[in-house]
Assembly symmetry: C2
Homo-oligomer: 334 residues x 2
DNA sequence: AAGACTATTGTTAACGTGTGCATAGATGTG
DNA sequence: CACATCTATGCACACGTTAACAATAGTCTT
């Protein structure tokens, strides 16, 4: 049996209502009464029953943090940074409930009663279904990492198209003209954005990219590895490869060294994400940094604001990406 | 306003009691009545209010997944695999609440009412305080990744001492005698276990490790990098370095190549954990694999069993580690 | 000093669900 | 046919908390 406000009330010789008010620091209660009740609560090691609170206050104290998938395709570093960012903001005001969207067989159980607010770290257009569901239920929602136009939904993301443009342009500025592309996972919005930025840079500088210089990828080490192996068999090899994330870049670099070649002397490589190990591989990887932790922090802050003020500040926040030049690209212009 | 069992009752012309029983598939209710009620519930898009259920059933439907820290020292891959493992087991029966133990200012709010069970992924002896608290409250608990003897607490971990022994012995078998150690983060149990395994191998083969061959580390890239830089300044350098995790090994390898030397020709390196990138760095890293995802799955399965059967199967499950030989160690015995 | 007002506390109902007990009807039994 | 038994349902209360309203005592005003 756990201790309730009624137990406290009995000991303090007051009604349980007074105890409730005292513990919630209501101005209605005399200061000395409050103090007396607080002391007793402390002694009894009282903890409020949050189920009861939730029932009457119509708040769950739960915040959902949903990823497109937990089981496939989400990179560990991304996942980690996102949770860290959100966690650092919510502190102990809410419980953080982590879920993979693809684990839901039905969105039925997602209601106003079970979540005070939801953060979706979205990697795929397929997430639109759950976004619509949540918006329809009127649950405060912020979508991170992917642009979204649903009305009433907050949106925080980085400008990945611009980042890819930067990286691809950098390759061109270093004198490369035979440039290949390893694409991201099919269906992930980021894959499309990064490819778009790449294409724009190519068109802008009037560089042709033959079909053989394009390979699909899955955002993992192995697919980057395979794609680069493919490029290395070509008669006229590319001199540089733009990889849509760092993990594929690492896999690609592995393939280069296995073939007895060197990065960047024989092949230049750029990645995307600036994961923690990018600076530590040899050669250090030139890549694009996007502020995931900042995105998730901003998202959480905005969500909390939205929950508490009820005001729908429906704006999209676009954070800039940054090219991090290291050692994996050779300059051909000298 | 959301729909409740009373709304359904009104439409079905029965009492809310009957609706409650019908939806919980009680044998007391006639089959056709059940069906009629189910249809109406479906039409109204009824979802039970879990706060109310929790209040009366005294179950929270929450499972806590606590890490020693979210903000410092936990590696992304470790974190990711642990969450995946647990998530794959619980499916939709419970909500998974992720927290960092160091975010708690007080354990006061951790009660039977707020968690049906808790999984602690423990990396430090300091976690004993929260373990004691949870055990005292009588909440079903499983501790992963670190040995624990508290009575009534389930425990699943890998035998890291043995893994480190394997790896260190392997270095010796390859003919190395000047072997250095980069230790794990101070206070983390794994750091102690791995060091112990290393020491045991050295003693077993009667190999002396001078003080200059031991450096503290923080489990991150940078500390591995610094430690190796230190070793490289020594007059009589080690020929091999045992790093207490892969990230430090990667940092160490970086330092070697920065010094114009090569792994494994000039310096052999072994890591620990077999993180995803271990196979893809150049040279591929020889390391020790421990089954984190399996540990977290086993842990979750046992916890659920414990919650539902109430039987305390207080056993410790020790999973074996495995040496993964790749290319980062040179054989001196030829 | 009577009425109005204020400060503090208590009474009671409500949130949505589950369950022990009562009840009514149906069925069986000798 | 009287009684026991069984089946299906309803009634009333409980879980722990908050909040609208009521009540009491004290203070102020004129």
């Amino acid at each position: 049996m756990s201790v309730t406000i009624k137990d406290i009330a009995k000991l303090a010789g007051v009604s349980h209502t007074t105890v409730s008010r005292a513990l919630n620091n209501s101005p209605l209660i005399q200061e000395e009464t409050k103090e007396r009740i607080r002391v007793i609560a402390e002694q009894l090691d009282y903890t409020p029953n949050y189920s009861a609170k939730s029932l009457v206050l119509d708040r769950s104290y739960n915040l959902g943090l949903f990823f497109t998938t937990l089981s496939k395709g989400t990179s560990a570093g991304f996942f980690y940074e996102a949770i860290r960012g959100v966690n650092s903001v919510i502190q102990d005001r809410y419980q953080l409930i982590v879920k993979g969207i693809d684990d839901y067989t039905s969105f039925h159980s997602i209601t106003r009663k079970s979540f005070d607010g939801i953060i979706i770290v979205s990697q795929s257009d397929d997430d639109q279904a759950i976004i619509d569901h949540i918006a329809a239920k009127g649950i405060p929602l912020v979508v991170l990492n992917r642009p979204v136009t649903t009305s009433g939904v907050l949106n925080v993301l980085s400008d990945e198209e611009q980042g890819a443009f930067l990286a691809a342009s950098y390759l061109i500025e270093q004198g490369h003209t035979r440039i290949a592309l390893i694409e991201g996972r099919q269906g992930f919005k980021s894959a499309q954005n990064r490819k778009d930025g790449f294409e724009r840079a190519m068109e802008h500088h009037r560089i042709q990219v033959p079909e053989a210089y394009r390979m699909p990828g899955l955002y993992d080490l192995e697919s980057g590895h395979q794609a680069m192996q493919q490029f290395l068999t070509l008669k006229e090899r590319p001199t540089a490869v733009f990889c849509c994330n760092d993990e594929m870049a690492l896999g690609a670099m592995k393939a280069v060294s296995e073939a007895g070649l060197q990065v960047p002397q024989d092949m230049s490589v750029v990645g995307f994400d600036d994961t923690v190990f990018a600076a530590y591989v040899t050669p250090a990887l030139t890549t694009v940094r996007r502020p995931i932790e900042q995105i998730s922090k901003e998202g959480a802050v905005r969500l909390l604001g939205n929950i508490e003020n009820k005001q729908h500040e429906t704006e999209q926040l676009l954070l800039k990406t940054e090219l991090i030049v290291r050692e994996s690209v050779r300059s051909l212009s000298l």
